[in-house]
């Protein structure tokens, strides 16, 4: 892999992301908005220290918005516009393209995490050493959500991908234990929700960030299964041309 093309590709990927204001709204605006709103208006989340509950959930939401929604929608349109096809006859390898996209996702996620943690701290959240354990979990979550995003992007028409990715974002937000606890869901729905990657990520991150840290193994297993299965499905079903 040529260094020059990798950094040029990563630069353009970043440029494109920053120029898509709607994507910045999804990746930064919505997570921070939910954090501030639910932390300030007590009783909505009905937990004792809302900000302690919210920060881990919003970190998971941020990962989902970047790796699944933003990456997936952008890639779907690149497929629609023939960009992926055109790149296929240049010396840029698929690995190179994927690396540049990964770097882009990670840079956005770092930015999100810094802003979310800073906002959380401003709202009274205590930053603990558990954050070091949260990082690998968030990375596993990134792999899982990127796999889902790329699976949709590589199989659906660009418009359908846009709709499905946004719809899925909402469903996973509601069923993800991010803004309010899973315990508020009916038992049957909760059982289903716990099998989804959103709840798995928010539960594990919350587990390691609480005052006496612990990793909920069942949620962790669910997360790992998604992180393995989704990218494999994406690799298998992804079509470079619409």
């Amino acid at each position: 892999m040529r260094r020059a093309s990798l950094s040029a590709q990563a630069r353009v990927e970043m440029l494109l992301t920053v120029r898509r204001s709607e994507s910045m709204l999804v990746t930064l605006g919505i997570p921070l908005g939910i954090l501030v709103f639910f932390a300030e208006f007590d009783g909505v989340s009905s937990v004792k220290n809302p900000v302690d509950f919210l920060v881990p959930g919003i970190l998971a939401l941020a990962v989902m918005s970047t790796a699944m929604v933003s990456l997936g929608i952008a890639t779907g349109y690149e497929r629609r516009y023939g960009v992926l096809k055109r790149l296929g006859s240049t010396p840029l390898s698929r690995g190179g393209l994927l690396t540049a996209k990964t770097m882009n996702v990670l840079v956005i996620e770092v930015l999100q995490a810094v802003l979310i943690v800073a906002t959380g701290v401003a709202l009274g959240w205590k930053l603990t050493a558990g954050i070091m354990a949260a990082i690998p979990l968030l990375l596993i979550g990134t792999v899982a959500f990127a796999g889902i995003g790329m699976l949709l992007a590589g199989t659906l028409r660009a418009e359908a991908n846009l709709a499905v990715a946004n719809g899925l974002y909402l469903v996973l937000l509601f069923l993800g234990g991010m803004a309010y606890p899973l315990s508020r869901l009916p038992a049957g729905v909760r059982f289903f929700a716990e099998l989804l990657p959103a709840a798995a990520l928010s539960q594990t991150v919350r587990g390691v960030l609480q005052s006496n840290p612990s990793l909920p193994l069942r949620s962790f297993a669910v997360l790992v299964v998604w992180a393995v299965a989704a990218p494999l499905l994406a690799i298998h079903f992804f079509r470079w041309e619409e």
Partner: protein, 320 residues
């Protein structure tokens, strides 16, 4: 690769999409430094053929060598040496022309100067415009510049001037000639006959996935064109009766487009007199009467299904 080896060598290429045979036994050879045109109506199999040469698609059968390589198996070695202009798309809507040229330049070891190419294709004024705000013709020119940024030895241009204004077309043709002078091999598809006549050293006319005629534009127009009369009159004349009146056999009279007739016979004074006499007797007014050599466009219409709505007598296969 030996210096005498052709840039492209295709033998017996076929490609099937479901029931449809998109490419049906195409063989062709393109020499180094040649401008080779694939002509044909939409759906003739031009793009499929080119995309197999570019390594996008696998042939069902036949052998394909591009710069001595197998385009899909040796893609890693081939791609740095070729430049590709897709029929449509291929551009990030959210970047500016110079940005995408710089990006593509980074892919190649010995890339051309993005600024130079921007000027060469006349997009200097549009350097700060996002691709999504460029006109169709401007996008085409940017795609062309991107095909050339890696200083390729071989360039594929799929309908390069579609959507371009006349000046941009002329610039593009000039660019193609300059590339050829530099020893670059060019394969292009087009259905603009004047384009093929102006810039191609050799053309192959493709129809229904087969090559129906091949040669230099001059050879093609001469081979089929030196003895004929063409005229323009009301559409739907009874061609058989006209043929009888002129003492010609079979389908000597063709209607290549509604109202445009071609008589495959030498334009003797007697024949012209018989033609005008028949038109007088039938009370048909004559719009336009030409004799002599056919243009490539007429050859094309004559050789492909676009000009043969009547019956499907398929010309024999020919090799390019």
């Amino acid at each position: 690769m030996e210096p005498t080896a052709p840039a492209i060598e295709v033998v017996g290429l076929t490609k099937r999409y479901g029931e449809r045979l998109a490419v049906d036994g195409i063989s062709l050879s393109v020499g180094v430094g040649e401008v080779f045109g694939l002509l044909g109506p939409n759906g003739a199999g031009k793009t499929t053929t080119v995309e197999i040469l570019e390594g996008y698609r696998q042939p069902d059968s036949g052998s394909v060598r591009v710069l001595g390589l197998d385009p899909s198996r040796d893609a890693k070695v081939l791609h740095p040496q070729i430049g590709v202009m897709l029929q449509e798309g291929g551009l990030y809507p959210g970047v500016k022309p110079l940005e995408v040229l710089q990006l593509f330049a980074s892919y190649y070891d010995n890339a051309d100067d993005p600024e130079r190419l921007l000027q060469l294709v006349g997009l200097d004024d549009a350097r700060k415009t996002l691709v999504r705000r460029l006109s169709g013709g401007q996008c085409q020119r940017l795609s062309l510049a991107l095909a050339l940024i890696g200083r390729p030895r071989l360039v594929f241009l799929d309908e390069p001037t579609a959507g371009m204004d006349p000046r941009a077309r002329a610039t593009t043709w000039q660019l193609v000639r300059e590339l050829r002078d530099d020893g670059v091999t060019i394969v292009l598809t087009t259905h603009a006959m004047d384009e093929a006549e102006h810039i191609c050293d050799r053309v192959a006319i493709v129809d229904h996935g087969r090559i129906v005629a091949a040669g230099s534009p001059m050879e093609l127009t001469e081979r089929v064109g030196h003895e004929e009369i063409s005229f323009n009159a009301a559409a739907g004349l009874d061609r058989r009766r006209l043929g009888d009146a002129l003492g010609l056999v079979g389908d000597a009279v063709a209607e290549i487009r509604p109202g445009d007739y071609v008589i495959a016979a030498a334009s003797t004074p007697t024949l012209l007199a018989d033609l005008t006499a028949w038109l007088r007797d039938e009370d048909i007014s004559l719009g336009d009467l030409r004799t002599g050599r056919r243009s490539l466009e007429e050859v094309f219409l004559r050789m492909t299904s676009e000009g043969r709505p009547q019956q499907g007598r398929r010309p024999e296969d020919q090799q390019a």
